[in-house]
Subunit: 343 residues, 2 copies
């Protein structure tokens, strides 16, 4: 491994000149700059990241904590990670994932204190999350992807679940639907304080009530079988149902299968609107589902920028932001049966 010293000698300049040529902190004449660059190329020089961050007292690593390794990374998270990594790179940083469980807040804190990262991106934030408190107390730069119950003074970017569920209900109501059920994640996730389940439920309920409609919301396990069972129960208790909003990809597979088996036509007899989905899931069903797609990439980008603004005081601050999911028409939503004409 060639060092800066080697480059300097080969280029016939001083060590610091090489440093300046590299960082651009100080003007360097085009001639010497070229000589330096040649030397670097010839030697295959790579600056030593450790020495650099030791001397500069700053790291260019951003750590993304993704705790739900047990369940794996969903498509939404994948989009998020890709965008976050690209943004970090564009800003001269490196995004790395640290596979820590939610209970490992102290480990996360210590790693940052050891200089392993300049700041932390927290995913899968629960309504009450120890990690947030720990990082806040330690004065470590962080940004939540998601939100705790109370967000005052806590930098975050998140999906706007309230707006998304309201948009979903509004879309269906415009098409004449009056009896719309909501299929959420499992009761276990709700009880564990899984924020999306809470916020979406609250949003859906409010959206229905505000339109004078009766909410029917269900918590369903993430499995096709549970999805089928949920449909069976719903049709039983609410026969007038004409539309379903689902926020549970795996269960939605079962929902579709059960409806098909019962010869309930999608979308003519039953509309399905799958919200907070990852890319591609809509096309995995037949007919392709109408979805509201998570703003994963946008959140990744904004999350990184927000974190960088926490780390580097000189950067412009970025606002906390909530982004709704965007409607992607498929063929699983139609005018409510019995509704006159088009919308």
């Amino acid at each position: 491994m060639a060092t800066m010293h080697d480059v300097a000698r080969r280029a016939g300049v001083s060590l610091s000149t090489v440093s300046y040529a590299l960082s651009g902190t100080r003007p360097v004449s085009p001639a010497t700059r070229e000589r330096i660059e040649d030397a670097m190329r010839e030697l295959g020089y790579q600056p030593n990241a450790m020495a650099r961050s030791l001397a500069s007292r700053k790291s260019n690593v951003l750590a993304l904590i993704y705790p739900a390794m047990e369940r794996g990374l969903g498509g939404t998270v994948a989009e998020f990670v890709s965008a976050a990594a690209d943004t970090a790179r564009a800003e001269g940083h490196h995004l790395v994932l640290w596979p820590f469980r939610t209970t490992q807040a102290p480990e996360i804190r210590d790693l940052v204190r050891q200089g392993m990262a300049a700041g932390v991106l927290l995913m899968e934030v629960a309504l009450d999350d120890d990690r947030v408190d720990t990082l806040q107390d330690a004065g470590i730069p962080y940004t939540m992807i998601g939100r705790t119950r109370d967000v005052t003074g806590r930098p975050h970017v998140d999906i706007d679940f309230e707006r998304t569920t309201d948009d979903a209900v509004a879309h269906l109501v415009e098409l004449g639907h009056r009896h719309i059920a909501f299929i959420n994640h499992s009761t276990e996730s709700r009880d564990a304080g899984y924020a999306p389940a809470h916020r979406a439920d609250a949003g859906y309920t409010a959206a229905m009530r505000s339109r004078g409609l009766e909410p029917v919301s269900m918590y369903v396990d993430d499995s096709p079988h549970a999805g089928r069972a949920a449909v069976a129960r719903l049709l039983d208790t609410e026969p007038r149902l004409t539309a379903l909003i689902t926020m549970n990809e795996i269960a939605t597979f079962g929902v579709v299968a059960e409806l098909q088996q019962r010869q309930i036509a999608i979308p003519d007899a039953m509309s399905i609107l799958s919200i907070v989905t990852s890319p591609g899931v809509g096309d995995m069903s037949n007919p392709p589902l109408t979805t509201m797609h998570s703003p994963g990439a946008e959140l990744g980008r904004l999350g990184v920028l927000k974190l960088l603004s926490q780390i580097d005081e000189s950067r412009p601050g970025t606002p906390d932001v909530l982004i709704p999911c965007l409607l992607e028409p498929g063929r699983s939503v139609a005018v409510a049966p019995g509704t006159a004409g088009a919308r």
Copy 2:
């Protein structure tokens, strides 16, 4: 942030003594050791990882490259990551994930050269994989989780697809099945050189032929809908079918749904054996699927140990290893219809 210097002063010892007390490289008397530990505690001392690896010329970071961010992480990978992280920690290292696409081999190489990691774990290795060549040429310690076409001199741990498929066929044949089809991943994945698709297909085919049976293997997209279509086609072309081996979790959902819709009883009329699955997927169907579970955790552990042995010459070498998936009985496999009595 307190430094070692601060600790030394507070404990009334020399700086190097603190270093030795920390690393254990040299004996330190219990008395002074205690004083040092007290001082560290009182100051909330955290060793600076950058300075340490700069001085020692070694990093304690292991990078796991996971390229399939496009598709997200499956459950198998999640098991792998958890075990790998735990093993790394137990060995005094840190596992971090680097989200790089397969085309970014040079970036990976450069990051290691910059000292950002001591070695690299490669996942989703294709039959022909640029990353492997790049790392090998650069002399960077690495271990494949998976295998290229040619594995001579290329450290790896992987699923034993040949053995797994043979075990699967053997299990079904013992139960009297003679007409057994195989549902693989998509043709696209195969054409992209996705190694599991190739190896499992070859293994299944050989396993059938060696028993005088006719292989019927299909490449199916990873979607419930494609799974349903595959079943329809299979029943059409091979009506004597009594068992299916699937290596495609999402498609399997559709397979089950289609069979149910056609009133083909699982497992009485059709056995389903889902191989290379992640934990929990078996229970997501009804009846719960009989599966052959990927040795994710074991691969994670062995992969890390193997990488460490590449990094540290003084460690005992570990052999390349192939581990078959393990049968986990569910209720989707039974004696072939028409088979007299039990096995």
